[in-house]
Amino acid sequence: MSEKVSVDRRSFLKSAAVTGAAAFVSSAGAMTAQQAAPSGPATAPTLPPEADPPGGVDVLTTDRPGGDFMVDVIKTLNIDYVASNPGSSFRGLHECIVNYGDNKSPEFLTCCHEESSVAMAQGYFKIEGKPMAVLCHGTVGLQHAAMAIYNAYCDRVPVYILAGNSIDATMRRPGVEWDHSVQDAGALIRDFTKWDDLPVSLPHFAESAVRAYKIAMTPPMMPVLIVIDGGLQEDPISPEVKARLRIPKLTLTTPPQGDAGAVAEAARLLVSAANPVIVADRAARTPAGMKYLVELAETLQAPVVDQGGRMNFPSRHPLNHSDGGRALIASADVILGLELSDFWGTVTAFRDSLVRSSRSIIEPGTKLISIAVGDLFIKANYQDFQRYPEVDIAMAADAEATLPALVEAVKRRINADRRRVLDERGRKLAEARQKTFDRARADATYAWDASPISTARLSAELWPHIRNENWSLVSEITGISRWPMRLWNFDQYHHFIGGSGGAGVGYGAPASVGAALANRKYGRLSVSIQNDGDFMYAPGVWWTAAHHQIPLLAVMHNNRAYHQEVMHIQRMAGRHNRGITRAAIGTTIENPNVDYAKIAQGMGVHAEGPITDPKDLGPAFKRALEVVKRGEPALVDVVTQPR
């Protein structure tokens, strides 16, 4: 630190205000003197002498602002990127990141909307397995980010959020700094974050920053928030504080495993079952989870229904029965649910009719086993926890962490006789799986040459261009009737990243950019099938992709409407016996049709389209992929069927 008297932000601003006021008074005096002497030649105004500083010090710089120490702390957390739309409430830390921190670990990602920042972090984590940081205003930034934070919360993804604020009311600049200040920034999002804090000193920041990371990364993983006061960021570090500065050691929590007794009982039920079914939602937290699930399924020769919250099970594996899984669940005698977000909905049919009703689809006496870490942490306000499931064994544990013990327990129970029975079951399941795949191929031929282009055709045309690459589908698939999962061969963890979690539209585009960023260093080819309505929420993320040279092939699923909502309005109209031709009002994106290629080009992204003839798809994909392989994003806009 330079040899000057340490002056904190408060004293500096006080002296600056006095100086400024004195200068203003002097200028006003000079103007009055000129006005009083209108005659005579005009002369150049004479600037008043600078006012002497008041008694005390006039220190204008510091070599060690508090934000530098914050950067030191963040660097120990091994965070590669911080996504942010810039803001004055965190200008201190921002500058420290780019200068003191040399814009490395973390590197600043310029975003055009805080929702994009958070959703990029959500997609990034699902590939990289560690959080991205987000930097935003504690008021307007968090407000913008809120929906994306909710998505990440529901999706059980940790996002490390730092939000700027100005706590000392006497130190706030008039105007905007007051609008951007709040007593309790975390209150806005506390119901869908796991933990938040407002450190009041740099040592406090260090401890909270490390604690927040640990909490975020403990299953169930969720976003966390640290509110960073502007004064802490910008004030010089005093000798007294400097003497207390240290960065605590980060020790990550070992995920909880299922109780040994419960694991043994689950194994007993599964091995003795005639028709066991394994249902997986967010089971595979890492590639290891997929490996363990394959081992369990193969040991039991049990079918797996992958609900798609993560990449849980290879799509063409003979035991993957995600298509037609409902029928298997209905005939099961034992069902193992691994990190299901909705076990009740898995075993219940619900009718959305004028009179809503539900019925169980499983036989009485069917045993239900749940392994879900969500049982350890549920908040009350937001209802993403779904209906209460009546299970027979409820393990409040992380499924991936529990699977090795379950596999071993299952293996210990299988003797030669049982092995023969299980293998016979496996043989039949494999035959059925092949038939399902053949049926999917046959189904894909319907509307094959149609325009708008069928989603089956779109998926089939894209596959040959990526199948021999190290590819990664970084988008959801429910909007395109799961065709990629039905036709392509998903067998690596990075081949799929699941969905938004909270069904908040607007997740898709930024999440795909975040996941593509994570894939970049592995040389993977990232592909997204992008819903048009989702893109319209915050299109600026494509500029972010171009600016940061994030290679990504985005194929626009341009069906020109928020089709889910069209169907909802249709349902209401049919139910109300009126106006069934008016469901397009307020739900469609046409007239005029949006030219997504022009938008993308305007943001520096190679793009072509709209494509309406399916024969043009292959060549367009080829051209776009040449761009992506050069390390840039590219878009192909395709006019498609609704689903």
Binding site: D323, G324, R326, A327, A330, A349, F350, R351, D352, S353, L354, V355, R356, S357, R359, I361, D438, R441, A442, D443, A444, T445, Y446, A447, W448, A450, P452, S454, T455, A456, A460, E461, W463, P464, T478, G479, S481, R482, L487, H563, V566, M567, Q570, R571, M572, A573, G574, R575, N577, R578, G579, I580, T581, A583, A584, Q641, P642, R643
Partner: protein, 140 residues
Amino acid sequence: MRRSGSFLRFLAAAVTGMTILAPAVVRGQAGTPSAAPAGQKPPATPAVPAGNAQKGQQLYTSYGCYECHGREAQGSTATGPRLAPRPIAFAAFAKYVRGPSGQMPPYTSKVVSDTDLADIHAFLQSRPQPPAVESVPLLK
């Protein structure tokens, strides 16, 4: 009356397309008159109104049928079964549209006339057969 305490039978929501229709409906089969007692004429089969496929396509679009079933009635595992080509018999088709037992919303004669239904049915019948899967290199 949004929720009922009573227990109602119905089909599961998230199944592959073909299973949403009620079990009594069989694709491609015409309605069969029930056997009449000896000496009595069997009840007359309701006449199937002739439909106009071109008008049917317009109605299929404006009524929003394509939203769930696709513009070529090819269906979607997410939203609604395939309806064409070779739709189910008109009588079963009309019965289901009026009183669906699955997730489909009802369309009464107040909003979709019998004539409209016949036109839509004609449009479904007019859909071409898809290519044989073996003839599509992309699906090999």
